[in-house]
Amino acid sequence: MAEIIINREKMTQLLHEIAGGETEVFAPVLKEEAAYITKISQDTPIHYDFFITVNSVKEAIFPRYEPILKYKIDQEGVKLEDIPPMKPIVLFGGHPCDAASLMLMEKLFGWDYNDHFYLDRRNKTIVITLACNEFDKDCFCTSLGYSPHGEIGSDILLESISKEAWKAKAVTDRGKAFLEKHTALFNATEKPDPAFKTIQDKDIPVGFDKDAVKPWIKENFESEEWKKITSKCWSCAACTYVCPTCHCFDITDDASMWSGIRTKNWDACTMPIFTLHASQHNPREAYYQRYRQRIAHKYSYYVDLFKVISCTGCGRCSRVCGAGMNILEILTRISNLAKKGGK
């Protein structure tokens, strides 16, 4: 099969063309000197010169808020209205760590009860992933067994051959069908630029032993270490909302006298009212209890339930944290403690 090459100009044309139709298109857009995955229309300028987007691809498939129920209220009672089926999506701009996170979230949203909002949308999404050409001190995907060129979760993987062009590789049948459907645009003539440098798996250091983290968390639930780790944490929700694998949500109603809507909105275990009982009792009163839940859920409880760590090492939570919390540093500290048998 001949090499399929596409350059930025053709990719923009492709995405704008699709955005015109029924399909929703998400791509990186420049806002205030940072790239964000956002829903684009036919003329939104797409931004390519970025290292990693601030928010994650989760925003396309698990939106900040979405209606799960609509109802009309009148004298006879309440009439429920169906939510229109999920629209197909083309998701461009994520890295392999983003694509892998979509697979992790599927496990929870498919656990016994199928949350069709996430699963239907996920099945109608074409994920076009950009392989990584650079990394920074907060990236640790290799520590969790992922790779800057990983294919997990992507439909099409774009490997950069030069600053302006990529070599496209279909990972799934859906990806292959998409490439065939748009072959007209996937025939750029750029040649691989030997001077263009990219990175390999070995470049990103493995920070900690991922299998040592869970046992330590299980034994050291009451350890003083949690208080030291989280002393500077503000307990806001910035890290959870940019995290590709944080899936917690709240359900609220918004209604007038005669009609209303029930929505599923993002929520975070770091927020105090997340676990506040009606009797005002709060099992997770202190900051450290809440941040401990965030780490323990990803690295211990999720592993017990679904045999996989709910984190792909993208490092977004460390980059966005205003207080300087760094998850790679915390996990390295935990795995070192585990090795030394420390408490």
Binding site: C248, D250, I251, S279, L305
Partner: protein, 284 residues
């Protein structure tokens, strides 16, 4: 179009009873008879009740699975949703989603044994569901003890049913009020039950726990104090069942609220044994 797991049944409010000034019981029937047919649940399961416009709240199903065609729920008025549910009248429509969570193993483990029910205050509804379930098949069980206490006479829930259980010959009912709970201002005249907190009354009850099943439900402080008493009376830890209380929003294991350790109260609970309780982190 795949099925929307958050879509509630539409329920008609058949009956509204005031248990205490701030606790109400609603009797709900399915608006759609087809749904009524398909619907079944087991003792201990819960559901999410929608007050359209305010939101959803989690209560247990207080009526027994042996009584078909309706479900009951009992709740205290504490917030936005319960305030709107308090004002419903017979004939109104509210929503119900469920049944969720695991169940009391009534058929599998309770049959042929003697059962002691211990409940405090507003925690009687989840226990009452099991009591009526057991009483509707009374011959399958040995003797039945019910130990129920509340702060004051006014706070006693299901007063009429307490009377029925007291008059029944084959039930040993021990009701108690916290000290000072029997004053006239609480509408109580010549209180015939005991006085004192549930754990202390339970200790003096002299119930023999050997080989018996205990169902314990109440505020966390009462559970902490009653568990050792039950063990003292001879109940084995695996035979002490309790239902857990945690903030819930989806009831389906998705929203992450009720997660304590690797345990999701809405999926692996709310019913669990005292033995399981010890393996979990103390985050309740």
């Amino acid at each position: 179009m795949s099925e929307n797991i958050y879509k509630p049944y539409l329920m008609k409010v058949a009956e509204v009873r005031d248990e205490t000034p701030d606790i109400k019981t609603l009797k709900l029937e399915f608006r759609d008879p087809a749904e009524a047919e398909k619907f079944s649940f087991k003792a201990g399961q819960f559901g999410l009740y929608s007050a359209f416009g305010a939101g959803e709240s989690t209560f247990c199903i207080a009526s027994s699975p042996t009584r078909k065609g309706y479900i009951e729920c009992t709740f205290r008025v504490a917030g936005r949703v319960t305030s709107q549910l308090r004002d419903v009248n017979p004939g109104d429509t509210i929503g119900f989603r469920g049944p969720y969570g695991n169940t009391f193993p009534v058929e599998e483990k309770f049959t042929g044994k003697s059962i002691t029910f211990v409940a405090g205050g507003i925690a009687l509804p989840p226990v009452r569901c099991v009591i009526w379930n057991v009483l509707d098949m009374r011959n399958k069980f040995k003797d039945i003890n019910i130990v129920y206490g509340a702060k004051t006479y006014q706070d006693l829930v299901y007063k009429d049913e307490l009377q029925q259980w007291q008059d029944a010959k084959d039930i040993n009912l021990i009701k108690t009020l916290d000290p000072g709970g029997d004053k006239a201002e609480y509408g109580c005249n010549n209180w015939d039950g005991k006085m004192g907190f549930v754990p202390t009354v339970l200790k003096e009850s002299g119930i023999n726990g050997k080989g018996g099943i205990a169902v314990l439900c109440g505020p966390p402080i009462m559970i902490k104090l009653s568990l050792p008493v039950l063990v003292e009376l001879g109940f084995a830890k695996e035979n002490i069942y309790t239902t857990l209380e945690n903030k819930m929003k989806c009831g389906l294991g998705k929203c992450g609220r009720c997660n304590v350790g690797s345990f999701y109260v809405c999926k692996h609970g709310p019913v669990l044994t005292a033995a399981d309780l010890e393996t979990m982190p103390d985050e309740f």
